[in-house]
């Protein structure tokens, strides 16, 4: 059971890493459009998130290695001191795994508090990553070529980040970096919203301008407002191939 649990958690960490990669790609595309250097907090936030995932994955791999060691020792020296030490090592992990399995069988599993064990993910996070999280990954495939498309991707990122965040118990190591990533995504979402608004406003001004054509002063007002809007508009960045800078 422990081996199976560790395998599942490892799999979900892979999904989480892929989601983070997609998020980073999209945020950097938006930053590229703003023609400014990416804001200073983005890279430390990404590093923090990656660092936590890496650290948790590291502990998970250690659990896996020790489990292998335990199985081997049980075959060779079942009553040896190393077996006792390894059993002690796994006692908390094993209890947590059993607890979680029991909680998952209950009618309202979200009402129970799980043990926080390094290297494992809470069961609600596992459920999200293996279900909706995977579906979300599917939505992030393919190239983005317009602001409305980017808007829906960023909404998708905001969704998975906030949903995953809500599955974490307070104080979980992933909580803080996820919160910071949500804020970074939100800021870029506002920029993308503005770009979509400018595009729509330009069309709206053209529509109204057509209906008011011939009125004295109309040309001056529309020309100036359109120029102001166009000055605020940023074209969607062209996809850059790796190594073609």
């Amino acid at each position: 059971m422990l081996n199976e649990t560790l395998g599942r958690v490892e799999h979900q960490f892979v999904h989480l890493n892929r989601l983070v990669e997609q998020l980073e790609t999209d945020l950097l595309i938006v930053d590229q459009a703003t023609e400014k250097q990416p804001e200073a907090v983005l890279f430390p936030t990404l590093e923090l998130l990656r660092g936590v995932i890496q650290q948790q994955t590291g502990v998970l791999l250690e659990h896996k290695a020790r489990l292998k060691q335990l199985v081997a020792e049980l075959n060779v020296r079942p009553k040896g001191a190393l077996v006792d030490a390894l059993m002690l090592y796994f006692s908390r992990l094993f209890a947590a795994t059993k607890d979680t399995a029991w909680i998952e069988q209950q009618e309202e599993p979200e009402n129970y508090t799980e043990r926080l064990v390094e290297g494992l993910l809470p069961s609600q996070s596992m459920r999200f990553l293996s279900g909706e999280g995977q579906l979300m990954l599917g939505k992030f495939t393919g190239l983005t070529t317009s602001w409305p498309e980017m808007k829906s991707r960023l909404e998708g990122h905001k969704y998975w980040v906030s949903e995953l965040f809500s599955t974490l118990p307070s104080g979980h190591a992933l909580a803080q970096p996820l919160l910071l990533m949500f804020q970074a995504t939100e800021r870029r979402n506002e920029f993308v919203d503005d770009q979509i608004l400018y595009q729509r406003a330009l069309l709206e001004l053209e529509r109204i301008g057509f209906s008011l054509s011939g009125i004295r002063g109309a040309e001056r007002v529309f020309l100036l407002e359109k120029l102001r809007l166009e000055a605020m508009m940023v074209s969607f960045p062209e996809a850059m191939m790796e190594g073609c800078e």
């Binding site: 608004l197 001004l205 009125i215 007002v221 102001r228």
Partner: protein, 110 residues
């Protein structure tokens, strides 16, 4: 109505149809004034009249025309416009409203 509540009304756009009517009345008054001044052919006043006409045409009419267009845009818009554009349009309407009111140049017809 105090200044603040008047500004709030303008901010929410509810005054805009009234603005169009008021601005068009002011514009109409200035157009009548131009006509009136152009019909004064007395040599003694012609130069002054010409100066007044030029001032109205260059300094007042463009502001009023643009204010009317801005108010009409506010009334016609179906999609939300950016805050920046809304502010610019409001500023134009306000500039027109700040000009001295003319009652359609009625007095000139007497």
């Amino acid at each position: 109505m105090d200044d603040l509540s008047s500004m709030n009304l303008l901010r929410h756009g509810s005054k805009t149809p009234d603005d169009i009517e008021r601005l068009e009345t002011i514009l109409d008054g200035h157009m009548r004034m131009i006509q009136y001044l152009e019909n004064i052919h007395d040599v003694q006043y012609a130069a002054y009249c010409n100066l007044f006409v030029q001032r109205i045409e260059k300094q007042i009419l463009p502001i009023l025309e643009e204010a009317i267009v801005a108010a009409k845009i506010m009334v016609s818009m179906k999609e939300t416009l950016p805050q920046m554009t809304i502010e610019n349009l409001r500023r134009r309407i306000q500039a027109g409203n700040d000009l001295p009111a003319y009652n359609g140049g009625d007095l000139l017809d007497v």
